[in-house]
Amino acid sequence: MDRRKYLKTLAVGTISTGVLLESCKTETAPPPPPPPDPVKAQGGHDRQPNEVEHFKKITGEKFFDDHEMATLTVLVDIIIPRDEKSGSATDAGVPAFLEFIVKDMPRHQLPMRGGLKWLDLQCMKKFSNPFVSCTEAQQIEMVDAIAFPERAKPEVRQGLAFFNLLRDLTATGFYTSEIGIKDLGYEGNRANQWDGVPQDVLDQYGLRYDERTLAESVKFDSE
């Protein structure tokens, strides 16, 4: 089962611990819940044994420490905030996606960790606080300095590379989430009979299907 559902089962369990504690005073702590099924945890679809092994291995490790994760959580919501159409990056589970993806793709680890460190050092120099402890205005000032490749000053160019990477991963994490797919308006991934570009769209671009195409293309009206 996925992490969110797993956490919910824990919450349900804790409601009754008050009752349990009384009767369990002299017993050992309740056994830990069984580890999640790695095939189900990966989505429940077809997996080979070597993939299951790999997943178990990397999800058994932790990469970002609490401070780094807190910093990332602030950053991703600056990159993709909640708006009238949909939730924010954290609403879409982007921080957890980042934790997984850097373990799955170790090539991201150094640029992410180094970038976060660089960011904190910049903030220490300027505001005497790490990024996550700065005021909102200070945080935005810092992001402004590294979010625009054509405008970044030479002395903060290393931050550009980090922010470009973080923007990419945040966008991917957001728009491949359930919230993000809905926001984007992707209408596929369902069984249908594909009968070509809708007429109003053809009209919009001044295009049409010629007689021959109409005659020989698959038809869905009969049989």
């Binding site: 490749p149 596929g188 570009v197």
Partner: protein, 579 residues
């Protein structure tokens, strides 16, 4: 290993087939139809697209959102078990050259996740030496294969349009889907500058052809395998009915080690290691058919040495492993500004392009001898890992939804809207061309290296020639022309001589053929015109190895037709007691 022994089965099969992809699957199917007692060996596990399912999964159902891994190089939902690197099964390179080798270890092999591009060879494709003096002619012609193309079309199903082109023969077609929006734009632009764009020819059922398979429902996920068997995979279309006939046994997870011969040098069976218990087994058969994929079958022959065959089985010509060639590939892509801010609708379609460009020029007027076809993609596909990457290279170049320019990159509400705004406006195109088969492009046995089963591995030696580089240059120039005419902007793929015009590394197109080529002269070929080994009458090869040349067309449809033809021959010869 005190208990080490080779377990010999007492059952003698009429036919043993090694490999269950296009060629092996077709052979098993044909044998089943004729009631011939057959054993099909497959190096990978059993696989059924209806049971081993990744189709219709949303990107968030993968923790990496569909990104590729070493285990699944074409994406997390791709059906392939295997890839470029398989743990414990290395291959090596020689003299600083490079060939990348893709292996799909599963019932049905690569036919489970391939592009379904199903093109007949044309008459010229069998006689290239007669046309341009390069390479060799096939010992057979289009007329020999045409009846089998017909049968394959009807058995498996392929859509397309009747075009009556001289070297791209029509199949017996199911109706094609209509072009998508960007495909209409490509078609208009390309045809206005003399480049044809016609419906593609894919083995996807737009109409049902039998009760065993469903029709396509346009989810565009053929590479994930289809739960209703709407597209062609050997596993579902050929092996499944073969198994149901009762005449065919399948042993999966069987890594074949060598072909076993008797004291006269005649093939009598197969020895393999069972991957599940790591024990050695031997089975005997009257006829041996190799279909393990071009390089893997060559490897098998070269590893099947004996006193009678010191150079490897069926290799008196010394040609096994040689004349290896893959398709060329080069690509380019960009954005169509008129598609920015587009209306949403379902644009999935089938699992591939709805239109393509068959080779249209006369090579006599060009500086390279062979042609290529063009494949197209783009539009509003399902997001996966990589969606949105590089927005800073895009959103500073075009006015936003408010009609205003803004600095590239950024963050926040306006960035979030940029991803929506630019969605579906990208496209790409790729050429797939014919390379000239050369004797000094080959695979051989590495004298120093064995895989984890103790089987000597392959070592590759492969270089593109000037012909392929010039062909790639032409591809790039053609793409730029089409894109410019279309009003598109190239964002990736411009290249020059310093990187061979973006010519893909050999092997990357995964159309490798030629390693056990057929011919009339036993001194220069491994097989005769019926895929039968010159040296051993009861040995056949039916994967891509027998190809003398590859054409500007994907090999699979021809592999299927030749395997069907060879199967009929085998059945006849067995009836006559000739083998």
């Amino acid at each position: 290993m005190a208990d080490f022994q080779i377990k010999k089965s007492s059952k003698v099969y009429d036919v043993i087939v090694v490999g269950s992809g296009a060629g092996g699957g077709m052979t098993a199917y044909m044998m089943a139809q004729a009631g011939v007692k057959t054993l099909l060996l497959e190096a990978g596990p059993m696989y059924d697209p209806a049971k081993n399912v990744t189709q219709m999964k949303w990107p968030w159902e993968s923790p990496r959102r569909g990104a590729s891994t070493t285990f699944r190089p074409f994406g997390d939902f791709d059906a392939a078990y295997g890839g470029w690197e398989i743990e414990g099964e290395p291959y090596t390179q020689k003299d600083g050259t490079r060939f990348d080798w893709f292996r799909s270890r599963m019932l049905g092999g690569r036919t489970n996740h391939w592009g379904r591009i199903s093109l007949r060879f044309g008459p010229k494709d069998f006689k290239r030496k007669s046309i341009d003096g390069l390479g060799d002619d096939w010992p057979i012609s289009y007329e020999d294969v045409a009846p089998y193309y017909d049968k394959v079309d009807q058995l498996i199903g392929v859509f397309g349009s009747r075009e009556n082109l001289p070297n791209d023969p029509d199949s017996i077609f199911l109706p094609p889907p209509k072009p998508r929006l960007h495909e209409l734009m490509i078609k208009d632009a390309a045809t206005s500058i003399g480049i044809p764009v016609i419906p593609s020819r894919l083995s996807i059922l737009t109409k049902p052809i039998n009760k065993d398979r469903g029709a396509c429902f346009y989810c565009s996920q053929c590479n994930r395998g289809c739960t209703v068997y709407g597209d062609f995979s050997s596993s579902s279309v050929l092996v499944k009915p073969a198994l149901n006939s009762g005449h065919v046994d399948v042993i999966a997870n069987a890594m074949v080690r060598e072909v076993v011969t008797d004291e006269t040098g005649k093939p009598v069976g197969i020895s393999y290691v069972d991957k599940t218990d790591l024990q050695e087994y031997q089975v005997n058969g009257r006829v041996i058919v190799l279909a393990a994929s071009a390089c893997e079958s060559a490897r098998l022959l070269l590893n099947s040495r004996s006193v009678s065959h010191p150079n490897g089985l069926a290799n008196s010509s010394n040609v096994v492993g040689k004349y290896l060639h893959d398709s060329t590939g080069a690509s380019m892509g960009g954005i169509l500004p008129k598609l920015i801010g587009r209306k949403r609708y379902n644009e999935d379609g089938v699992g591939g392009m709805h239109v393509y460009t068959p080779w249209w020029l006369d090579n006599k007027k060009l500086d390279f001898p062979r042609g290529y076809h063009i494949e197209y993609w783009g539009g509003m596909g399902m997001p996966g890992y990589g969606f949105g990457f590089g927005m800073q290279n895009l959103n500073g170049k075009y006015p936003g939804r408010d009609g205003q320019m803004k600095p590239a990159g950024g963050y926040g509400a306006s960035l979030k809207d940029d991803y929506r705004y630019f969605y579906g406006a990208t496209f790409g195109m790729a050429g797939r061309g014919e390379a000239v088969a050369r004797e000094d492009n080959y695979c051989e046995i590495d004298p120093n290296t064995v895989d984890k089963y103790g089987i000597p591995v392959l070592r590759f030696h492969y270089k593109w020639s000037e012909f392929e580089v010039k062909q790639a240059r032409h591809m790039k120039a053609t793409f730029e022309e089409i894109i410019q005419k279309m009003g598109g902007v190239v964002t990736w793929g411009k290249s020059g001589p310093e990187d061979n015009y973006g010519l893909e590394t050999p092997g990357r197109i995964i159309h490798e053929v030629g390693t056990t080529r057929m011919g009339n002269d036993p001194k220069k070929s491994v097989l005769n015109p019926y895929n039968q080994a010159h040296d051993c009458r009861n040995l056949f090869v039916v994967d891509g190895g027998p190809f003398v040349s590859q054409a500007d067309k994907n090999p699979t449809w021809t592999i299927l037709a030749l395997a069907m033809r060879a199967s009929e021959y085998i059945i006849e010869e067995m009836k006559k007691q000739n083998i």
